[in-house]
């Protein structure tokens, strides 16, 4: 059972309190009607499915209820960082460097 740091609560807590919410930084287009079928399918379904550092979302379901973002290594399941929704995507190279 992995442990997750909720950036809103400031606590590291067991996975059971959280719900995975898919890849991060996929924005719903502001004007969906102007999207082509291909673009809409990409928004709905296409994911990077990275093996390695993965930008993803979690929700502190049984805690504060907030959605937040995370970078997690999908090979080891270890988190590099979690950060609040709306914050910019952290620089991966810097993250990996800090992790060493």
């Amino acid at each position: 059972m992995i442990q997750i740091h909720c950036p809103y609560c400031g606590e590291t807590l067991p996975e059971l309190e959280f719900a995975y919410a898919g890849e991060a930084h996929i924005e719903r287009p502001l004007s969906p009607s102007e999207q082509s079928d291909e673009q809409w399918a990409e928004f709905l379904f296409l994911r990077e499915n990275v093996k390695g550092p993965h930008f993803e979302r979690w929700r502190h379901l049984h805690g504060c209820g907030r959605f937040f973002n995370a970078v997690r290594n999908t090979i080891t399941d270890r988190f590099y960082i979690t950060y609040k929704a709306g914050e910019p995507r952290p620089d991966l190279a810097t993250l990996l460097e800090e992790d060493k």
């Binding site: 719900a19 809409w40 979302r57 080891t76």
Partner: protein
Amino acid sequence: MSKYRLRGRGRVDSSKPVVFTFDGKPYTGLKGDTVASALLAHGVHLMGRSFKYHRPRGAIAAGSEEPNALIGTRRGPGRFEPNTRATVQEIWEGLETTSQNKFPSLKWDVGAVNDAAYMMFSAGFYYKTFMWPRSFWDKVYEPFIRAAAGLGVSPTEEDPDTYASRYSYCDLLIVGAGPAGIAAAREAAGKGLSVILVDENPEMGGTLLSEPQSKINGKAAWNWLEDELAALQAAGVKLMTRTTAIGYYHENLIALVEKLTDHLPTLPEDTPRERMWRVRAKQVVLAQGALEKPMVFHGNDRPGVMLAGSAQTFLNRYGVKVGNTPAVVTSHDSAWYAAFDLQDAGAFVQAIIDTRAQVRQDLQDEARARGIPVKLSHTVTATGGRLRVNNVRVNPVSGGTNVGAGQWIKCDALLMSGGWTPSLHLFSHTKGSLTWDDDLTTFLPKDTPEDCVITGASRGLWGVEAALRDGAARVGEALAKLGIGSSASEYSVEDDRTGSGVMMRELPTDRSPGKAKAFVDFQNDVTAKDLRLAVREGMRSIEHVKRYTTNGMATDQGKMSNINGLNIAADALGKKQPQVGLTTFRPPYTPTTFGAFAGYHRGEHFEVVRKTQIDAWAEEHGAVYEPVGQWRRARYFPKAGETMDQAVTRECAATRASVGIFDASTLGKIEVVGPDAAEFINRMYTNPFLKLAPGKCRYGLLLGDDGFIRDDGVIARVEEDRFHVTTTTGGAARVLNMMEDYLQTEWPDLNVWLTSTTEQWSTVALNGPNAAKLLAPFVEGIELTEEAFPHMSCVNCTVAGYPARLWRVSFTGEIGFEVNVPAPYGRDLWEKLWEAGQQYDITPYGTETMHVLRAEKGYIIVGQDTDGTVTPADAGMDWAVGKKKADFVGMRGLARPDLVAPNRKQLVGLLTEDNSWLEEGAQIVFDPKQPIPMKMVGHVTSSYNQGTTGRPIALALVEGGHSKMGETVYIPMPDRTIAAKITGTVFFDPENSRLKI
């Protein structure tokens, strides 16, 4: 006193005899004995039969790694378990045990004919035959194979025991209480840390329990042990015995299983049988020791052939001589000490046979001093005896492979040691990497991503002193990470038994190696020949060899067989061991009861049952329930002797005739509040909500962004900035999650709060022509008239003295009200309405009647009439989609090519031509005469014959159904084909005339 017991020796209590039975025969052991040690004390070696050849087998080991001596254990009704290791099960007065995998008896087993056909049953033989004739696999071969396989028999009764589960958090968890683990605990103790030390055995001490001769820092080993454990306890270290660390999970989560009652003669009240601990430790020390390797030679599985270290354990810990005239075969120094201990205890060791040409002179001198014959550069090529070894064939070896003439030596036990393998199971669970050590010819631990250190024999160290020093030193790394400085204590040990050895594959033999029965995996009957055959057939990865031969897949999970198997496979391939690979160790470390994993989640606690405030009333009034999501809901309220159909027919009629009362509290409820609440709802739901006036309700349809229906419900605008949203019973959590997702991450600019209020409200629904009349006297603050409170209104008022949100809505087509009161008042409100309703013959109804009544009106149930592939247009609900809206969730999805394609499946009504009832789920075709496979054009989603229209009605999804009104479709059933006419979905009161007060 039993024949092989040495009075006063070992850690058993000779003043406390314990009687148990094995295969119905009573045996007397001593308190502290295992089943195996007690049987060995009586000279009983035969304890089981092997898996494939049904060969007679005895205990080969003295601990949890035992592959052979598996027994059934019973404690009265319901308390039976198969495959218990006799070397682990402690005896208690009255324990019943049985041998396994034999018929008719352990001594005479007809399955042993397999052994005679040994050459046929080589590795993978079943892949090569049993294919003809084709039908025989299911009917003949497989049943035969299945009956022969398996070990013990399954329990057949429900388990009366309970199992507990707990979480624990500590600074340091130490797995294994041998010298290394205890030394580690000692360094950590008294430093203000929370420390847990666990061991799978009933007693702590590990090797020390089998090696009482050593002196640690001047104290006799057992005295030192006692003092140390007392000191640890005094320093607040939590000591847990009979506790197995079964798995190492992410981020230092260790699962421990503590056995609490399997060793007790009487079961204490209120004590669980086992307790699963999930321990989150900041640091972990793994000190699991090492496991002795068997030697691989023809006949190495005969009862009486066992590991030398285990024989030493039986002697020193249990006071049992495993034989009076044992012989020893080894390639490691450690077995020499076993021979010495046995000789000193009164046995007559017949020979020490060592495959090595050179052995330490002091060992040879000691053997000679004791009069034990020593044969260096010798091999063992066979053993004799039917149910117990009675002699061993010994041959000289020169040049490594030249085997000279054999000589039979009589013996009543044969002790073997092929050296020791570090126990790396938990380390492997961490995805830790291993490195091959050529000198020790074994894998050693390297790196792990987890916060743990590994110490002692687990990393290839040998001897008590080395283990103590290493434990004390290595724990320092863990302590340093906890911010605690330490300097490792010093240890000196006298009479320490250090030693070394060489790795052997199969022992050299003068027999045809192709015919030797030299076992590697004892339980699964995998021989060296099988492993070599697998390689010959192209199995090059150790995983292939393992899977082809089943080596390492027995209940010891390869503890006895993996390394021998790897050495032999590597040799056959002409490769080094690491190039062939090591199969992964997988949790659990030892087989673990399902009960321990399930814990409290059994029976009614398997999953929480959610009940409304009114549930108890329903139960008192004979409700029959159905589970919906986690809720249990009253399905119908049968009167005496009524079937479900009769009850539902009555409930439907009564509601339409006068008034019915229904518990709608399970509907999901979400409070949406804030200046932008209307905008938010408007974006989430398909319907327009901006102009909905406070005090009004509107039906809402929720889609996914793919355009398909996800949920629906009535939404009330309670105040300008406050909405009370209802969802389906099963969909509440999903809908709230979806709303939060959009609100928090797509539209954070909207000023809205969402709160789940499902449990905050009790919701009582009244439906029927007399609903208003019944309710009105209870309501303060609003007149229940058509003018003051029309259909689809809501108001905050007082009902029966309680603050209420009163809605005028209808899911039945009758005059309807839903009274929401704070949850605790629900039952009282219900009872007041119930009492006052008697004058109107009020009838309680359940979900089934609710379904019928709504179907008569053509109202859909999401999840029944839709299935995740249905659009609003498909459901005939285009009216619910705001045409002027710029966007809502699902709007773009609805425009995708297939969602606007012609001929989609559309929701229609069906009336059967012969008035028969259709089965829900039945498939629909246009052409009933076509052959199978038929072209199906839809299915029946809802179907009822208990309603008030006087005939069965159905809803169905049919291809292009909306343009096929009046046409006939066919429903082919197994026995006949039913014709039905396509109609609209409203079967009752299409003018909605009954909604008016």
